[in-house]
């Protein structure tokens, strides 16, 4: 698998994680294995992932698995002020940003508290469906 395919598939998995609430997703395909984890709770294997034998692990789960918040629409990211920063703690659910689609604001919530471990987007960035916006350690 080439790097761009890995990147594309990783993004797809991140989207699926954010949407479907899987705790862990692992896809093995020929020589490549991609694994993403969200939380250490129920370790469910991804359904529908093709069974094959791994020979190399391309992407390892990060030390502290994070919950990905992804865009549900295609549009432009607007970060709410004050914008959250990496490392920042959230006490509970908070609206972090919205994605503007044809003039409509689609709110992006943190869906609970935690620590912002990554901000993947900047103000005004175009995003597609399923694109990760924030990673939050729970």
């Amino acid at each position: 698998m080439t790097e761009d395919v890995i990147a594309a598939r990783t993004r797809a998995l991140a989207g699926a994680l954010a949407e479907a609430g899987f705790a862990r997703l692992r896809v093995r395909d020929g020589e490549t294995e991609i694994e993403l984890r969200r939380a250490p709770r129920a370790p469910a294997a991804a359904a529908g992932a093709p069974a094959a034998v791994p020979e190399a692990v391309v992407e390892k789960p990060p030390q502290r698995p994070a919950d990905l918040v992804a865009s549900e629409v295609v549009g432009i990211v607007r970060l709410l002020r004050p914008a959250v920063a990496e490392g920042q703690d959230l006490d509970g659910d908070r609206e972090l940003a919205y994605v503007e689609t044809l003039g409509i604001r689609n709110a992006v919530h943190s869906r609970g508290g935690g620590r912002i471990s990554a901000v993947f987007v900047h103000e005004g960035q175009p995003v597609e469906y399923g694109q990760p916006l924030f990673a939050i350690e729970r």
């Binding site: 395919v5 594309a8 598939r9 797809a12 989207g15 699926a16 949407e19 093709p50 629409v73 295609v74 549009g75 432009i76 689609t101 044809l102 409509i104 175009p126 597609e128 469906y129 399923g130 694109q131």
Partner: protein, 451 residues
């Protein structure tokens, strides 16, 4: 000419449009669902946006996300392909509201032709022969009155219909209530529009359609006719050819004349297809498709015209670069649809991974496909994997070429229509030319009985 076109479709037609754009020097933006991430239509575009998950309502029919993708990426036009939003006048209007050129006819014309009953009325007014029948019937009682007048057998049709959905044949009055109820329910489920009308049922007609092109400056040409009479029991086309074989030259001329007259009468622009039923010397207008058709390549191969490029040029306001006198067909062309479905089980669609994919090549063979070895066929979309198109100097040479092309085709992982189509091509009645739309269902019955 446009700078950048968003292709609001998937699969082979998205690739087809991508090719036309790139050959015109126009940049492209693909859209895709999560399930199509690895499709060739995504790989070959200059940019690509995921617009939603697999189910079509959330992705390929997701108008806000699609329009947003076009705006974000700086497109100036949208090509809708066929299916999905191709005949959705509202989508065309929204695109226009956002400054995007919709590559197709004007919304009012899409609307008029999309409503089958309105379309028939407009065509009758333009002097185009249509099947005897009704405007919209409000209920089964109105339908009964109409049926009694025009005589059984009749066809109940949804005014929003297409692809055989919301359609039922009725051979006797006692069948009417059930047929009406099921057809209407199907239409409501499929199109959110349960309005029905009635037509005289022409027994085993041929399906012959005429391709037209009309620019925005009043030039209208036809590019001959296609015969699409090889249809599954679901009325879906399986094998198409151009020109129509064994067609009386006077009937052919009449079809061409009627098509261009009608195109002018309704103020049509861009590429369109007028579908007719042909029974002996009689010709009846059925409907007009306000988009590019799946089977457009058979016309391209004998006329040497790139219909999708012409669509784009017309939408960009260009003049047609030719007149009717410049258009001369050469040879004969035939298309086979390679679908992921099981011909031995009512063409049940199949999804899965294509473990082996080898397409044919060589002289006179064109392949339009979005799949490749290792590609996954998702369960959400139509089952067409590829179109194989053959051209030869004569109908017989085109069929021989198609037979060898199908023998070279090897697709493993899902059941396909390849071998079945080979079988059809070998049938003496098909070979003779001129079969009606009832032929394939009858052939299937004979075939099932023989097992």
């Amino acid at each position: 000419m446009f700078k950048k076109v968003l292709i609001a479709n998937r699969g082979e037609i998205a690739l087809r449009i991508n090719r036309a754009c790139h050959e015109l020097g126009v940049a492209t933006v693909a859209i895709f669902s999560d399930a199509d991430r690895a499709s060739l239509h995504v790989r070959h575009a200059d940019e690509a946006f995921c617009v939603g998950p697999g189910p079509v309502m959330r992705s390929y029919l997701n108008i806000p996300n699609i329009i947003s993708a076009a705006l974000i990426s700086g497109c100036d036009a949208i090509h809708p392909g066929y299916g999905f939003l191709a005949e959705n006048a509202r989508f065309a209007e929204i695109a226009a509201d956002h400054g995007l050129t919709f590559i197709g006819p004007k919304p009012a014309v899409i609307n008029a032709m999309g409503d089958k009953a309105t379309a028939k009325r407009l065509m009758r007014e333009a002097g185009v022969p249509t099947t005897p029948g009704s405007d919209i019937v409000a209920n089964v009682d109105e339908a009964r009155t109409v049926c009694a007048k025009i005589g059984y057998p009749v066809l109940l049709k949804a005014t929003a219909g297409g692809g055989g959905k919301g359609m039922r044949s009725v051979t006797a009055p006692e069948e009417l209530p059930t047929a009406f109820a099921t057809a209407q329910a199907e239409a409501e489920a499929s199109f959110k529009d349960g309005r029905m009308y009635v037509e005289k049922l022409i027994t085993n007609p041929r399906h012959v359609e005429v391709q037209v092109l009309a620019d925005e400056h009043g030039e209208v040409v036809h590019l001959g006719e296609r015969d699409c009479s090889v249809q599954k029991p679901s009325h879906q086309k399986l094998i198409e050819e151009a020109p129509a074989p064994a067609l009386d030259p006077a009937v052919r001329d009449r079809l061409h004349d009627v098509a261009t007259t009608a195109t002018r009468a309704v103020g049509y622009t861009n590429a369109g297809t007028l579908e007719f039923l042909v029974a002996g010397d009689d010709v009846y207008f059925m409907e007009m498709n306000t988009r590019i058709q799946v089977e457009h390549p058979v016309t391209e191969l004998i006329y040497g015209v790139d219909l999708v490029k012409e669509q784009i040029r017309i939408a960009a306001g260009e003049h047609l670069g030719f007149t009717q006198d410049d258009l001369h067909p050469h040879g004969h062309s035939i298309e086979v649809r390679v679908n992921a479905e099981d011909p031995n089980n009512n063409f049940a669609p199949a999804a899965g991974t294509l473990t082996t994919v080898v397409f044919p090549g060589g002289p006179g063979i064109r392949v339009d496909t979005h799949v490749y070895g290792g590609a996954v066929v998702p369960p959400f979309y139509d089952s067409m994997l590829a179109k194989i198109i053959a051209v030869g100097r004569t109908r017989e040479s085109a069929i021989l070429r198609m037979e060898r092309a199908l023998s070279e085709t090897r697709i493993e992982g899902v059941k396909t229509t390849v071998d079945f189509c080979s079988e059809v091509l070998g049938e003496p009645e098909f070979r003779a030319g001129g079969i009606g739309v009832g032929w394939l269902p009858a052939f299937l019955s004979r075939r099932a009985a023989a097992v």
